[in-house]
């Protein structure tokens, strides 16, 4: 079963913000809302690292756990979506999310918090496929067999999107080619599927850092 995930390779991210721009343009995201953003650690210091962050489509999403109106759904392909018609804009999900993914557009003269907006993994949203849905949630690229534009647009291919196992394999191959394996976290990413024992050997040899 496909389990859609994002993976950002911080060794490759050059903080160009191409992913942010691609997302905003593709989904016509309103002013003041960033479904994706690039965070830089130790900005300006030699060795700084940037990472592109958006909704990570958690397997056990805390936003869904705290939502008082149960407007979140995790689809069969592992994408966490929410129904904007049901959302009351309370902001609990924002406090629960460790990545700061939920965004709230300011509406009205006094900045009243609007309905929550977040990354949909370019899967549109719930409800019938029509113009209204595109306006609310953005494009449904997954139904066209495409991946989120932020990842497809990434110039250095730092941001990977797709089935968790597939992108973990891509990342692992990269790390092996770099000659060190300290960056690979997690059992699946480090060792791959059960049949990939011979492939994992170079990491052990080259793991110096």
């Amino acid at each position: 079963m496909a389990r859609m995930k994002f993976l950002c390779d911080v060794s490759r991210c050059i903080e160009c913000n191409g992913c942010v721009t691609a997302c905003k343009n593709e989904n016509d995201v309103p002013w003041g809302v960033n479904r994706r953003r690039v965070v830089t650690i130790n900005d300006g210091v030699p060795g700084e690292r940037s990472v592109s962050v958006a909704c990570m489509h958690c397997s056990d999403a805390p936003c869904a756990a705290v939502c008082p109106v149960d407007c979140f759904v995790r689809t069969e392909d592992g994408v966490v979506l929410h129904d904007k018609d049901l959302c009351i804009g309370c902001g609990y999900c924002f406090y629960a999310c460790p990545f700061g993914a939920p965004q709230f557009p300011q509406q009205g003269a006094f900045g009243v918090r609007g309905k929550m907006d977040k990354c949909t993994f370019c899967a549109g949203g719930p409800g019938p496929d029509n113009e209204d849905r595109v306006k609310k949630y953005g494009r449904d690229r997954l139904a066209e067999g495409k991946l989120p534009l932020c990842a497809e647009m990434c110039a250095t291919k730092a941001l990977l999107a797709g089935d968790g196992e597939v992108i973990a394999n891509i990342y692992r191959e990269r790390v092996f080619n770099r000659g060190k394996g300290a960056e690979v976290w997690g059992w699946g990413t480090a060792y791959g599927p059960p049949g990939a024992k011979s492939e994992a050997a170079p990491a052990a040899q080259g793991a110096k850092s």
Partner: protein
């Protein structure tokens, strides 16, 4: 007789404490399971349920995984 009763009750308390303590070691499933009717929103149609894929999840999976391989330049530039 009293001593036996005392040790018996101590053993019962210790056994109870051990059982309660072991409950904490239990493993809960990490993936949330949505109970029927808990999600209150509109139904979501899966991406493969369209004209393009003829409801074939396998075709869709292959298309998406093939596309994901475009992100792997070690395979793309060969």
């Amino acid at each position: 007789m009293k001593r036996r009763a005392f040790f018996g009750s101590v053993a019962a308390v210790a056994a109870g404490a051990a059982v309660v303590g072991l409950v904490g070691c239990g493993e809960r499933p990490q993936v949330i399971e949505y109970k029927q009717g808990k999600y209150q929103g509109k139904p979501y149609s899966e991406p493969w349920k369209g004209k393009q894929w003829n409801d074939s999840k396998q075709d869709w999976n292959v298309a998406v995984d093939t596309r994901a391989q475009n992100q792997n330049e070690y395979k793309r530039i060969k």
